[in-house]
């Protein structure tokens, strides 16, 4: 049985909230659901959403989570919070009172981050629950429709899931309409004004290919296919839209993982320290806090890395003492202001680029590893020569950097309605088996031949999937 009552939770929540307000964190209204471990596993499998459309992959995720949990390989997260307005978070009833307080504080910080960070501006948090519910209802309706049915819905969803992250990364930047794109390309094709035009030969004018589709390479694969495959029925297009919209909703969270977790860890520590906790709870809190933010050797713990950087921004790592006043408000207001600014205007890539210094990296003992034969071997450590390399690879792999950039070049390649894709190669080769299989999914959705141009071991290569199957050839 839990060692607390609902009244305890409400009591501590209002105290936490007082401190949160005093610190100047700016949050949506907060809601907490108390759930048990099975429900928590369920929420985890469905990205936390109380309502989500069904797909076998979530069943698979659940089984995997449950197996790992039952065998004690992984624990459950203390907290799970949804970017919505009002924000919804789950508290697991098996947790101790200390963990609940810690979680509540952590959740408020995430809540503040969701509300203020610029990447989340496009997520429309006041509609989150409703949107996911409508998506679920629509997909269920298709699955139950006798003229469609689950056996047709599922293959489309399988394919859409495979491509869901192949989309524009910086959603805050507005996408140009076709007319605007045309105007721009006409503008770009116009010869530069030449003050000596009377004595010069007139520059050759090449008209832009305005009939081309897409006019500029297109990153939103699912949307493009939905718009440009004339043989796709309305419900199929709708499925692609649903999957695309969900991915768009989650991309800000992928893009700010380190910042967001660091931010929450930074604040839960400050909040709990300001709460004047009973000693037993305080000691447990110290243990739990260290469990959460300890480094995981061999990889990067976003909680740890994020927390260290935030502390540095707060001016604490420089050896300045934290002068917690009696009211718990730190006196270095300037630092606090710059922190709030950073949480608003950065995401992981810019955050790390700006604030992860060589000194901190050395302190964290960051290293870069590369595959060598069977093993992963450390190639650089954080010293004068190694640090720039490490920083470069770190910036490349955070957030959406884990997803290869693939753009649609031409939807009518060879006047054949072949979909021509190009991988923006940045030194990292694409994984071949996955590329072959995923390209198969593109083909399933596009319905005609698809081609992907990439570089494999330094050679330009073209993968094709048509009704005859997969083929690869190297290009000159």
């Amino acid at each position: 049985m839990p060692d607390y009552t609902i009244e305890d939770i409400e009591h501590w929540d209002s105290r936490v909230h007082e401190v949160v307000a005093r610190f100047g964190l700016d949050t949506y209204p907060q809601e907490f659901d108390i759930c048990d471990s099975n429900q928590m596993l369920g929420y985890m499998a469905y990205s936390g959403m109380p309502s989500h459309y069904p797909h076998w992959s979530y069943g698979k995720a659940y089984e995997k989570l449950k197996t790992l949990y039952d065998h004690g390989v992984t624990g459950l997260p203390y907290e799970m919070v949804i970017n919505s307005n009002p924000s919804l978070a789950y508290l697991m009833r098996e947790n101790s009172l200390c963990l609940q307080i810690l979680t509540i504080a952590h959740v408020y910080a995430h809540n503040d981050f969701f509300k203020n960070n610029f990447t989340f501006r496009t997520t429309r948090p006041e509609f989150t629950m409703g949107t996911f519910k409508t998506h679920a209802d629509r997909i269920r309706a298709y699955s139950e429709d006798p003229s469609i049915g689950i056996d047709k819905v599922e293959p489309v969803l399988d394919a859409a899931h495979a491509l869901s992250l192949q989309c524009r990364r910086n959603i805050v930047v507005r996408k140009l309409t076709r007319t605007e794109q045309e105007a721009r390309s006409i503008e770009a094709a116009r010869p530069a004004p030449d003050p000596f035009w009377q004595i010069h030969k007139r520059a050759e004018h090449t008209a832009p290919e305005l009939h081309k589709v897409p006019l500029v390479p297109e990153e939103d694969l699912l949307l493009f296919i939905a718009e440009h495959n004339p043989y796709m029925s309305a419900w199929e297009k709708d499925l692609l839209t649903v999957v695309h919209e969900e991915a768009q909703y989650f991309i800000p969270q992928i893009e700010t993982k380190i910042m967001n977790e660091g931010w929450a860890s930074y604040w839960h520590k400050r909040i709990l320290e300001a709460l004047d906790l009973p000693e037993a709870i305080h000691l447990e809190f110290l243990v739990r806090h260290n469990q959460v933010v300890r480094p995981t050797p061999g990889s990067i713990n976003p909680y740890h890395l994020g927390l260290r950087i935030w502390e540095r921004i707060a001016g604490e790592a420089e050896g300045r003492t934290t002068e917690e006043g009696g009211n718990g408000v730190q006196s270095t207001n300037h630092d606090r202001e710059s922190m709030f600014q950073v949480r608003e205007t950065d995401r992981d890539v810019s955050f790390l680029r700006r604030f992860l210094s060589e000194e901190l990296a050395r302190d964290l003992d960051l290293f870069q590893y590369e595959p060598k034969g069977e093993d992963l071997v450390i190639s650089h450590v954080a010293n004068k020569e190694g640090w720039p390399r490490i920083k470069e690879s770190l910036l490349r792999t955070v957030g959406m950097g884990q997803v290869p950039v693939i753009k649609i070049e031409d939807a009518d390649f060879g006047n054949n309605r072949t979909l021509y894709l190009r991988h923006d190669h940045d030194g990292r080769d694409i994984h071949l088996e996955s590329a072959e299989k995923t390209l198969g999914y593109v083909h399933r959705l596009w319905g005609k031949e698809v081609a992907l141009e990439t570089i494999v071991s330094g050679k330009r290569t073209l993968f094709c999937v048509s009704e005859h199957g997969f083929s690869a050839k190297s290009l000159k």
């Binding site: 069904p54 992250l165 990889s299 992963l376 450390i378 792999t397 299989k437």
Partner: protein, 395 residues
């Protein structure tokens, strides 16, 4: 910055928790996918697993393909960044190449290898899938899957004493009624309408004795040609055939022994694993296998005590000179056995059609000898039925 504090805490409601098994449908769908995947690879799995004569609860590890979720991801040559414990040096090994999880980052972190996994299924499920694959009729499937229910004891009369669970209530009550009638016939002892309780003497228990049915023994001799190339498909066909035979015999006899005889030019008695493992190359003397079978029957399984079932799988490629000896030995086995079958496995498209033992064995004219030709897995069940029709021990 004091906002109205309006946090809502919703308490835990067990009823919700019980109703909220939201992933049940998706889990079911996922399992169906696994099952489909197994079914597609059933030939490979059966060809590699020892299934004959094993407990139905035996758990088998089966690799799963086809339910992986693919995305465009980076391949092997992409470097990563990690954090050390303060003593990292260039050249240190920090992990294995494939299957190493990167820093957690939502769904995008799927690396190849992580997703490839095995699942455990019981032999019972596996045979169920195999039966589906062989398209066994439902009725027969049931017959073969049911564990033979042998009554090892039977009821014999009643006793005054016994254990509570064998109390025969009906007879007990009857005994009381009888006693009451007897007692009330005598006016001295008539209890009238007073209480008339049960007495120890009323209690009647069923008596159970161990069944002393005649012991029923059977031995299944699996003889297989391990000479040429027994490829996966041939192994699958042979193994499923032997398996069916064994299951069938199990439903009819209580004590079933299994013997595996592998032969090329010489014969050896082996375990099931060895039996289906890669055979030696070289020529074939079918008679050697039969001779070994005869020896084993004479030594351990005398036909007066055992019902002998022998079955031989081969691709029919025997040395010309051995044919008379093989025919003779086959005749001998057929005389001793309830049933002797010869199955020639020739997957469609294989050569050597000309050298077939089927022509030779046509000369063997006994009613409990049966030859079958298996060309594809659909043939397994019809040939199996044809074979059993000749069972001498059949009722």
């Amino acid at each position: 910055m004091t906002t109205l504090h309006e946090t809502i805490v919703r308490p835990y409601r067990p009823a919700d928790a019980e109703r909220s098994d939201r992933s049940a449908g998706d889990r079911l769908r996922h399992r169906q996918k696994i099952r489909e995947s197994i079914r597609e690879n059933i030939a490979d799995i059966i060809a590699e697993e020892s299934i004959i004569g094993k407990s139905r609860d035996k758990v088998i590890k089966v690799p799963i393909r086809g339910i992986k979720e693919y995305r465009f991801i980076f391949g092997k040559n992409s470097p990563g960044v990690g954090q050390g414990d303060g003593s990292s040096e260039p050249g240190q090994v920090v992990g294995k190449g494939e299957g190493q999880e990167k820093a957690p980052g939502d769904q995008a972190g799927d690396r190849p290898g992580v997703d490839y996994y095995e699942t455990d299924i019981t032999l019972d499920e596996l045979t169920q899938i195999m039966f589906e694959d062989l398209e066994l009729p439902d009725l027969e499937r049931k017959k073969l899957r049911e564990m033979p229910a042998y009554r090892e004891s039977k009821r014999k009369g009643y006793r005054r004493v016994g254990i509570r669970s064998r109390l025969d209530k009906r007879r007990t009550v009857r005994a009381r009624v009888k006693r009451k009638l007897a007692v009330s016939a005598n006016p001295d002892t008539d209890p009238g309408n007073g209480r008339f309780p049960f007495h120890d003497d009323d209690l009647t228990f069923r008596h159970i004795v161990t069944d002393v049915r005649k012991e029923s023994n059977a031995v299944v001799l699996c003889i297989m040609d391990t000479s040429g190339s027994m490829d996966t498909m041939k192994k699958y066909l042979a193994r499923s055939f032997f398996f069916l035979l064994f299951q069938f015999i199990c439903t009819k006899y209580r004590n079933v022994a299994l013997v595996f005889i592998a032969h090329h030019t010489q014969a050896r008695e082996v375990t099931e694993e060895e039996f289906f493992s890669k055979g030696e190359s070289g020529g074939t003397f079918i008679s050697s296998g039969y001779q070994k079978a005869l020896d084993i029957i004479a030594e351990r399984y005398h036909p007066s005590l055992w019902n002998v079932y022998a079955f031989h799988c081969s691709d029919g490629d025997n040395f010309e000179s051995d044919n008379p000896a093989a025919l003779k030995a086959a005749k001998e086995i057929a005389e001793m056995a309830n049933l002797f079958g010869y199955g020639e496995i020739k997957p469609l498209g294989s050569r050597y059609y000309e050298s077939s033992m089927l022509n030779i064995f046509r000369r063997l004219d006994t009613d409990n000898f049966q030859t079958v030709l298996i060309e594809r897995k659909e043939d397994v069940w019809p040939s199996f039925k044809a074979l059993l029709a000749k069972d001498r021990g059949a009722d």
